[in-house]
Amino acid sequence: MFTQQLVNGITEGSLFALIAISFSLVWGLLKLVNFAMGEIYMFGAYAGWIVVSYITPNLFLALLAGFAVGWGLGWIVEKVAFKALRGVPHIASLVCTIGFSFLFKEIAAAIFGAQTKAMPSFYSSTALVVAGANVSWLQIFMVALAAAMMLLLQLLFYGTKIGLGVRAVALDYRTAGLMGIKVDRVTSIAFSLSGALAAFVGVLAAIYYNAINPYMGFVPGIKGFTAAVFGGITSIPGAILGGYLLGIIENMSVQFVSSGYKDFVSYLLLIVFLLFRPNGILGKKAKL
């Protein structure tokens, strides 16, 4: 049972880890939280759902559609909540993203209806059995995909010009601007990327859980955020570690504490961590 819970935790953890990266990206650049992240995730799931149920039952196309929709929504949120509000109090941007969270949820409910919709499953057959724990192809695929995504991001940040720009802006906004980096463009791209990532995870989650509805984003949004803080919100490896740890801790606390207290355990751990390691497990100074 322990191994089964570990497998469950790691699978759930890959979802958390990817959302955590989204939060981490925005935080690193703007020191801000996008509370509409969960809703972008939800719209991604709907985009994937439209593709597989109306166009073609192709998993990769669905993921791509989610990515694209998330990119667009991230771009919109950035333009309104952050760019238009540059140089104004933090709290304004924060409240603006809360407004977006409301708006997205209810727009989705108005367009698609509030009913939970079925999402077909892919690769759900058992791939292997490890110490009595079933592991499905989808679970392997998810973990692999999460790993690939993280690798890709590292490559992006450390191997490309735009990545260099993102790191520079994260380090020092003003100096980066003086050095000729197009700060607005870099922020916009990073923000859209974070949205795209969240929506991408939305599609994955929809396939994993086989269901979508307009209010599905709230819990993963909060969990992703928690994971990001857990691992160190200023660092992407930290966010990933936080995601997996949170997934494993939650599943283990169901097993060894009680299902009613699983969130309690993770939030308590979060507070304790904040007290003794305010920058998270891997977080140091602004490092991406």
């Binding site: 304004a92 809360i98 009613g260």
Partner: protein
Amino acid sequence: MISISRKYRLVLQLCVGLLLIALPYLLGNQYFVRIATMIGIYVVLASSLNLIIGFTGMYSLGHGAFYGIGAYASAILSLSLHWPFWVTMPLAGLFTAMVGAFLGLATLRLRQTFLVFGTLAFGEIVRILIMNWNSLTRGPMGIPGIPVPSLFGFSFKNFSNYYYLVLVFAALVVFLIARLYRSRVGRAWVAIREDEVAASTMGVPVFGYKVLAFTISCLFTGLAGAFYGHFVRYISADQFGMNESFLILTMVALGGTGSIIGPVIGAVILMLIPELFRFLAQYRSVLYGAILILVIVVKPEGLAGVKGLFVPPSGTARFHFRKQKIDSAAEGQAGGGAA
């Protein structure tokens, strides 16, 4: 600030006061009186959160939980020990303040930005505790039948009566907060908001005053919870979740941080919008989100807030994480720079 002449202001306050007193008669309808009462409770909530956000420059995303602690404390005391509202209400406030003080002592040394996460997690912990602690809180079943307060045989069951009760309470809280704001204590808070290091060299014990602000804010929030519980007479955990924290935060931001009247306006508007647009049925929530975004984009400082507050003159507020080496080291030592 644009200052109005004292005389003019007094006349205005008198007019508003009279209007508020005459309100139940003007409105006639119990539905509107109820909304007015709820607005009163939210005026308290928003004003006390403003004490933290607007005056002292800290964050709290856990105020929904403090609100719930107050409501539950008063409800449980009055139902299990049959104490009157006039005893349970202040006790609930004190208890909430105590919890707030403990949380403050634990987390206020953290960098301000981490306070956001700390309070958010705390809010969730409280909600989960309420949901699971069946023997005390009846868990998800909620607590029905909370008694209506009465005073010397005079019952507040009638909404108009309760309205006056809440009116007195809200007016008192706003008055107290205004007095604190204009006192030595309030100046210390604003000094902390503006520059912690400078405040400490001017003799302000930064940490102590932060905890004080947090505690007082929680006291008022807990009291508001008690007033709420005895008003609706049924409370359940889902009434005090994260959405509630967000709602209160939104009221402060929309009305205007750092001013006395701002949160009041925010509470009035955000309570009225959903009622005014009821005829839109499911599209009402879409509109709510849209209005929120629009107002914030047009007036980021809030409707009655101080323009540009929290933004250093250079205008690169949120990007000033790395100033001079000595500077950031100083901030680190003194417990964090501006968020």
